[in-house]
């Protein structure tokens, strides 16, 4: 009976493999259901249009849709979802603030999303529109367990086509949309996207320049990104990014390094084309900063004298046949007077510094430097010089002299062509080689580069030989009207309100006096030289009238209830603290009236009105160039030398405008 029962074996094997199956394999691909019908469905631009300066809270069922463009996978976006209104040519985009990470695993790039806004709010943070939970004047992130109820997904995933723009074409409307900028390269080679130190998680700005438009832009990358330590390719190409803005700077935020598509060789290799300085200057639109957005070069001659030191080593003036301009270098240059240089100016910035237009460049932009020929200075009249039209140009002006020829070159020097004419300032730096030489006391021809300082034309002197004065000095004076019927009638240093200091003049004559050429000088403390002055030109005092010059217009008006006739500067002649000396000078330079004695500090003397008041006695009817105590009533805080110790408070103790 012992035989192998084959049928038994097969039966057993059959039984063993034919029992119930288990559901542990062959899972079907899940699919998302069709999109819902939303009752009150709005486009993103319709929602953003509701914003008028303060957060918009949504209290009823409003649903907005958009397309996801951000991706937080690599860590450059944190707890934010950026959506735009259309897959292509978007008009608006915004940030949805959500308190969760890896949002892109739920909201893929290109996926259409629907946001039920009920309970949420639209706000604006600087230039960026945001949706979140309302908190006062801004929005917070939507809670982790709540956002799922607000944001639903469509089955639709589309390709987002970035809007290709040049940097100059970027506007605030492109913020939070996907843009693409071509021809970019990093300004500096060999940098990483952010600090490679794993422990430094600060965000980092990297600067990129377009080789097409020579504009530059910031790429900002978080120190939490996975690619923070990766090198930015030392190549050139396009960057696709979400546009942001900080202060006035646009910033690019890439999703991952695939957004940096650099395949071309680094460098803006095409040779720059020749341009005139005038063409370059035309990029400037009159305000702010402008970029030379073409690949240009200029050939100019240096008209400034670095060796003479009357200009910083970062600065120079240059000129070609069409125009002249100030150059500002990022590092010290070695351009000397008369050098002919070729400079690449693509991407250079044009900006004004104290109203002087500068071309900002780097020494590395200098293509070629040889000895050239200085342009012949253009001969212009003094009046032409004052117009400011010759800014940056080497000019020559005849018939000028220094207004004050008893000083050194250091500082501001006024040049005049006629005694009562508007002066032209020639500022000389302390570091200039001729700063300590006395200015010429003759008259003649001056050469220099026209410049501007705070709206007023000035002339830059290259060196002392620019001052070629050979004619006799014209002595001025006699211009304007002089009289001794104008004098100081009241000086005020209110004890309770030093901001309300003033000087009152009085015209005791019978005619109105034009004060053209009249000056009040102040000699601070024991200073024998005038320390400040105010030119009264332009004012008139009628007969029998007082004339008030306040130190601070607004404070005076607050204290006394009316405006002064003239406001001097803080620290000017009217702002004496009572121990200074003051003179009234007529157009000829003669002292008509004086309070105190220049060179003698008023403290403890009979010409101290500290915290008080000096009032001309009613009996006085004309100015006196020699200080005479008897002509004054003086109240102060010391009472020395016959004065009265009685500090005076404004407004009651003073009588401005009343003789």
């Amino acid at each position: 009976m012992k035989k192998i029962n084959l049928y038994k074996i097969f039966a057993i094997l059959f039984i063993a493999i034919s029992v119930s199956c288990v559901d542990n394999n062959d899972f079907e691909l899940p699919t998302m259901g069709a999109d819902k019908e939303y009752a009150n469905l709005k486009s993103l631009d319709e929602i953003i249009a509701l914003y008028n300066g303060s957060p918009v809270e949504f209290t009823d069922d409003t649903t907005v849709y958009g397309y996801v463009i951000s991706d937080d996978r690599e860590g450059n976006f944190f707890k934010v979802l950026t959506i735009q209104d259309k897959p292509e040519n978007p008009t608006v985009g915004l940030e949805v603030r959500i308190d969760d990470t890896n949002l892109s695993a739920r909201y893929n790039v290109g996926r259409k999303v629907y946001i039920n806004l009920k309970g949420l709010a639209l706000s604006k943070y600087f230039a960026s529109f945001q949706i979140g939970s309302l908190n006062g004047n801004s929005t917070d992130r939507i809670d982790t367990s709540e956002y799922l109820n607000h944001i639903e997904r469509s089955t639709e995933i589309v390709d987002i086509v970035p809007t290709t723009l040049t940097i100059g074409e970027l506007t605030d409307n492109h913020i939070n949309t996907l843009v693409k900028i071509e021809g970019l390269q990093a300004q500096e080679k060999g940098l990483t996207y952010a600090d490679p130190d794993p422990n430094n998680t600060s965000s980092v700005n990297r600067y990129f320049t377009s080789c097409e438009t020579f504009e530059s832009i910031i790429m900002r990358t978080s120190g939490f990104t996975t690619f923070k330590a990766h090198p930015i390719p030392d190549k050139k190409g396009s960057v696709t990014a979400i546009l942001g803005k900080f202060s006035s700077d646009y910033q690019l935020f890439i999703r991952d390094t695939n957004d940096v598509d650099f395949t071309d060789e680094y460098g803006c290799n095409t040779p720059p084309t020749d341009a005139t300085l005038s063409e370059v200057k035309d990029f400037y639109t009159g305000s702010g900063e402008a970029t030379v957005t073409k690949n240009l070069k200029i050939k100019v001659v240096i008209t400034s004298d670095l060796a003479a030191g009357n200009l910083h080593a970062l600065s120079a003036f240059a000129q070609d046949a069409t125009a002249g301009i100030a150059l500002r270098f990022s590092e010290d240059h070695n351009l000397n007077l008369g050098d002919e240089v070729e400079i690449a100016v693509g991407g250079a910035k044009l900006s004004e510094y104290n109203d002087l237009l500068q071309l900002n460049i780097s020494p590395s932009s200098i293509i070629n430097q040889t000895t050239g020929t200085l342009p012949t200075p253009e001969v212009i009249t003094f009046a032409q010089a004052l117009t400011g039209n010759y800014e940056g140009k080497l000019v020559q002006i005849d018939g000028v002299q220094f207004n004050d020829n008893a000083k050194t070159y250091s500082g501001n020097n006024e040049l005049i062509a006629e005694c009562d004419g508007t002066p032209l300032t020639a500022y000389v730096r302390n570091d200039a080689s001729f700063a300590n030489n006395n200015v010429s006391d003759k008259k003649g021809t001056i050469t220099g580069v026209m410049t501007v300082y705070k709206g007023t034309a000035q002339i830059y002197l290259r060196n002392e030989t620019d001052v070629n004065f050979t004619e006799d000095y014209t002595t001025c004076g006699g211009g304007g009207t002089t009289t001794n019927t104008i004098f100081f009638s009241e000086l005020a240093d209110p004890n309770n309100n030093p901001n309300a200091r003033f000087i009152e003049l009085y015209n005791s004559g019978t005619d109105a006096i034009d004060l053209t050429g009249w000056v009040i000088r102040r000699y601070t403390n024991g200073n024998p030289e005038s320390t400040s002055s105010i030119d009264l030109t332009g004012s008139t005092i009628n007969a029998g009238q007082a004339f008030v010059i306040a130190a601070q217009k607004d404070a005076f008006e607050t204290a006394f209830g009316f405006a002064p006739d003239l406001a001097a500067e803080t620290g000017g002649p009217a702002d004496s603290n009572g121990d200074d000396n003051i003179e009234l000078v007529d157009p000829s330079g003669n002292v008509v009236d004086a309070f105190g004695v220049p060179g003698e500090d008023g403290t403890g003397t009979n010409h101290e009105f500290e915290d008080g008041r000096a009032n001309r006695k009613a009996s006085v009817t004309q100015g006196n160039p020699t200080y005479t105590f008897a002509e004054w009533d003086i109240w102060n805080d010391s009472g020395d030398a016959g004065t009265t110790n009685a500090p005076q408070d404004a407004p009651g103790a003073f009588t401005p405008k009343v003789r």
């Binding site: 012992k2 035989k3 192998i4 029962n5 038994k8 074996i9 039966a11 057993i12 094997l13 039984i15 063993a16 493999i17 029992v19 119930s20 199956c21 288990v22 559901d23 542990n24 899972f27 079907e28 691909l29 899940p30 998302m32 996978r73 969760d100 990470t101 890896n102 892109s104 695993a105 739920r106 893929n108 790039v109 290109g110 996926r111 809670d143 982790t144 367990s145 997904r153 995933i157 490679p196 794993p198 422990n199 996975t226 923070k228 330590a229 990766h230 090198p231």
Partner: protein, 918 residues
């Protein structure tokens, strides 16, 4: 009793005679088929004389002393028969002995399901030890296997690596971790009945064994009796259905024998949610007895096993979702899907040559080849949030422990979310991949071990004389283990970037610098890829002496183990020491043991065993971070072989009514090594890192008393009792070194930080209940039905402590004690958690019917944990809160985010089996 007549007959036959040659003989016949039975064991225990029946069923016992002896005739699957004889120099012929099938063997079916489970995941040291014990007849060990295994009970508190499992003399313990992988032959219970178990240090005929003993499973085709068997089982434990079918030919006249078996076990969900089970097993054994001296046997075992794993959870999670909760699964299109599937398919082919060199000497030559793969799946998500629904930020506790004060609204929201959903959201993972299918955000992958192991050995066994038996073996094992990760489901995507998103320095993020930024697809190897090569050669020799009053043995072994890693990827964190071959680690080890059994009388015996074994570190414990680098533990700490000193003393009492055994035991382990991997906060102050925690020089002490007692109160009622009172503790303060992948990580020097010693001495080892008691009864009706029940009480199970918290790092920051350190609170925080004690009541019953010639139908049922007791079977402290501040802050509100994680035992479960034998 059926044997009654024979017994009485023999009693009258017996005659006392001194000096003469005592011989006992007989013939063993199958009671049903009336065929002679070969291979039946016949022994006289007290005299230590034994034999087996030959092909004609005959046996002869010689060398017996005079006096009253008991002859025991036994064969697995049959009722054991005892014949008292009086020997006095004359031959005693027991005549024809009928062997009756043991219906109670069906009881094994309940417990063999133990081996169907791996009770735990690989994350815990606890695993299946019961499989080893089920072959034992010892009441204590059977109780441990059948009643306490659901409690993760471990005999003497020792890991399963201390017990050797052999199939046909070939060791099956894995070189990777020293543990047998029971699933490799799961579902083949019918053909795995022939087992020889040696408890503890007692000698085995096949191997030196471990301190827990050894089991040899014999699959020789000729040793199965002819017959077939089909059984169906239903259960709610790990699978729902099991079908097994077996046919064995027995030895045919032409010298051939064949045995085939197949089974399928399947279920969509076990006791724990989301745990499917899917296993198919095939077995084939063919033997050809060439002649009397030579026999050749081929065995093929192919068991596929695939099952969904279950998660350990914090108390917070269990409190919210209950003990069946499993965080590893979720619905996909309405179908349950488990993200962590263990898949195993490692077929075994064996060729065994049996050579009877002489009547007294046999030489077995065995060659085994095992190959295949083990895959453990999990989700990888380099572009998505952690999909684990129990991720700490998704649970209420995280919001309650907000440093700015509890956020009750959020906590309530999370509670509701977790109650309502709380499972893996598969659909979401697919949707996440839709945006960029060429660069998936999440995929499902498998950690794979593809092992190929060749083992060859020769075992010589020789009865040198009546009293002395020599056993010796020489063995060679060679393992090539390929370890890698591979995507198994792209979740709708087409590619996945093989980078480690934690790398911040360029290069670090690369799994393989040789192929940076590689996109992988199905079947590609990614993340890590390396080979382990291990080689072991050695041998053992053993002498057993048997005398009338005393038996004793001595045994010794020596072996040499080498381990080497070969990196196939150049890891971004370890550019210089990850690619290519590591240092070759070489360990020479030896062991010696001896023992004796002294017979005070036939009723009272004393048994003593002692041994000293050194053990090479397993592959797992030899490399600091094998997935990433060639750095060995020896590079960063001291790596030594483990030394184990073990001994026990037993007192055995046997009477017709009572069989009992009480054993005192101790085991000292020295220089053990353990490696764990986790993310830790608070290293050297405020630093956080993913670390490898390398604990070396660990000493452990295990000692206690075991008791087993059986009383045959009546012919039908048997009472059973078993107990263990043990204490398993750390016995020193071992050294702790931590390493991390990032060499410049803060708080580390070259990626390493020496933490000094971990103050573990006297902490309890997490080794299941250290105290266990069982009491029960069996009723066995003569009419072939029976039932039984036990009450079990288990106590003193402890959580696995975190070593890093017990270093000086816990209380200071770079040498300065924390200013806010409160020693009273610290002590409380470091108190080792002891789990609640509990009672578990189990019941079993069965019946068998004879339905024809040699045809039976059997029915068996068991119910475990009748009263649905909830109890923790194990747990561990999460290492994340590495210092006092972190731990204090996390525990401040009572529901820590990184609290201990636990496994719970099953509630009430059943097992029902029907079988048909023919």
């Amino acid at each position: 009793m059926r044997n009654f007549t024979i017994t009485m007959f023999l009693l009258f036959l017996g005659f006392v005679s001194l000096n003469a040659q005592n011989i006992v003989k007989g013939v063993v016949i199958n009671s049903d088929s009336e065929n002679p039975m070969q291979g039946v064991s016949v022994s006289v225990k007290i005299a230590n004389v034994s034999s087996v029946t030959d092909a004609s069923g005959a046996f002869t016992l010689t060398g017996l002393p005079d006096g009253r002896q008991i002859v025991t005739v036994s064969l697995s699957g049959y009722e054991t028969q005892n014949f008292p004889v009086e020997l006095s120099g004359k031959a005693v012929d027991l005549g024809t002995i009928f062997m009756y099938e043991d219906i109670s063997e069906d009881q094994d079916l309940s417990t063999i399901t133990i081996t169907d489970d791996e009770l735990n995941d690989d994350t815990s040291a606890a695993d299946n030890i019961s499989g080893l014990l089920q072959a034992s007849r010892d009441v204590y060990l059977r109780t441990a296997a059948f009643e306490w295994s659901g409690s993760f009970y471990r005999v003497r508190g020792l890991d399963s690596e201390n017990g050797k499992v052999l199939i046909n003399g070939i060791e099956m313990n894995k070189l990777y971790n020293g543990r047998p992988q029971w699933s490799n032959w799961g579902g083949l219970n019918d053909v795995f009945r022939n087992q020889e178990f040696s408890n503890g240090l007692t000698p085995s005929n096949y191997a030196f064994g471990g301190v827990l003993g050894s089991t040899n499973i014999n699959t020789r085709a000729s040793e199965y009796s002819e017959g077939g068997r089909i059984s169906y089982a239903s259960s709610n434990r790990s699978y729902s259905h099991r079908l097994m079918a077996t046919y064995t030919s027995g030895l045919l006249a032409n010298g051939w024998a064949i045995a085939v078996s197949g089974s399928r076990r399947a279920g969509n969900e076990g006791y724990v949610d989301g745990t499917f089970y899917d296993a198919n097993s095939i077995f084939l054994s063919i033997e050809k007895q060439i002649n009397d001296a030579h026999s050749l046997n081929l065995t093929v075992i192919a068991a596929e096993n695939e099952r969904g794993k279950s998660s350990p959870n914090t108390q917070e999670v269990f409190d919210i979702r209950g003990i069946r909760y499993n965080s590893y699964w979720g619905y996909q299109n309405g179908k349950m899907r488990n993200s962590r599937v263990k898949r195993l398919y490692e077929p075994i082919i064996m060729l065994n040559h049996y050579w009877n060199l002489s009547d007294n000497t046999t030489l077995n030559t065995n060659i085994g080849y095992q190959f295949g793969e083990i895959g453990n799946s999990r989700l990888d998500y380099n572009g998505a949030n952690n999909p684990d629904p129990t991720y700490y930020r998704k649970l209420p506790s995280w919001y309650l422990s907000n440093p700015d004060g509890p956020d009750y609204a959020q906590a309530y929201q999370k509670l509701t979310d977790f109650q309502n959903d709380g499972q893996i959201n598969w659909n979401e993972l697919y949707f996440g991949n839709q945006g960029s299918p060429e660069n998936a955000r999440a995929i499902l992958y498998e950690d794979r071990n593809d092992d190929k192991q060749l083992t060859a050995n020769m075992i010589l066994s020789s009865e040198l004389n009546e009293n002395i038996t020599l056993t010796a073996s020489a063995e060679y094992r060679k393992l090539r283990s390929e370890n890698f990760a591979t995507p198994i489901d792209m979740l709708g995507a087409t590619g996945y970037l093989d980078v480690n998103t934690f790398g911040r320095v360029p290069g670090q993020e690369q799994s393989n610098l040789l192929t940076p930024n590689r996109t992988v697809g199905l079947g590609d190897r990614f993340k890590y890829n390396y080979n382990f090569d291990s080689e072991v050669y050695g041998g053992f020799a053993q002498l057993q002496f048997k005398y009338s009053n005393v038996d004793f043995y001595v045994a010794g072994q020596a072996n040499n183990t080498t381990h080497q890693r070969e990196g196939l990827f150049q890891n971004g964190y370890f550019p210089t020491n990850s690619y290519g071959k590591s240092d070759k680690l070489d360990f020479f080890n030896y062991g010696a043991k001896a023992g004796a059994t002294y017979k005070i009388s036939g009723r009272h015996l004393i048994d003593v065993n002692g041994g000293y074994i050194t053990k090479a570190p397993s592959l797992r414990n030899s490399f600091a971070n094998s997935r990433a680098s060639n750095v060995t533990v020896a590079d960063v700490a001291e790596l030594n072989s483990e030394k184990i000193l073990s001994g026990d003393v037993s007192y055995i009492f046997r009477s017709p009514l009572i069989t009992s055994k009480v054993t005192g035991y101790f085991t000292d382990v020295q220089d053990a090594t353990e490696i764990s991997f986790f993310f830790a906060d608070g290293i050297g102050g405020d630093n956080s890192a993913f670390i490898q925690e390398i604990l070396t020089g660990i000493d452990k002490r295990h000692f206690g008393v075991e008791l087993g007692i059986e009383a045959q109160v009546t012919s039908t009622i048997k009472l059973k009792g078993a107990a263990n009172i043990g204490q398993y503790t750390y016995n020193n303060n071992p050294n702790l070194v931590i390493t991390t992948e990032n060499a410049s990580a803060q708080g580390f020097v070259n990626g390493k930080r020496d933490m000094g010693t971990a103050s573990l001495k006297d902490y309890r080892i997490a080794a299941g209940p250290q105290k266990a008691y069982s009491f029960g009864f069996e009723y066995r009706d003569p009419d072939y039905w029976w039932f039984g029940a036990t009450v079990n009480y288990l106590d003193e199970a402890f959580v696995d402590v975190s070593p890093i918290r017990r270093t000086s790092n816990f209380i200071n920051e770079d040498g300065d004690l924390f200013l806010d350190y409160d020693p009273v609170l610290a002590k409380k925080l470091l108190q080792q958690e002891q789990f609640d004690d509990y009672f578990v009541v189990n019941a079993i019953g069965g019946k068998s019917w004879k339905v024809g010639d040699n045809k039976y139908i059997g029915l068996f049922a068991s119910i475990n944990n009748i009263f649905n007791q909830e109890y923790k079977t194990g747990g561990f402290e999460q290492g994340r809160n590495a210092n006092y501040r972190e731990l204090r802050d996390d525990n401040a509100n009572g529901t820590p985010s990184f609290g201990n994680k636990y496994w719970y035992g099953r509630g009430t479960t059943y097992f029902l089996n029907v079988n048909y034998r023919f």
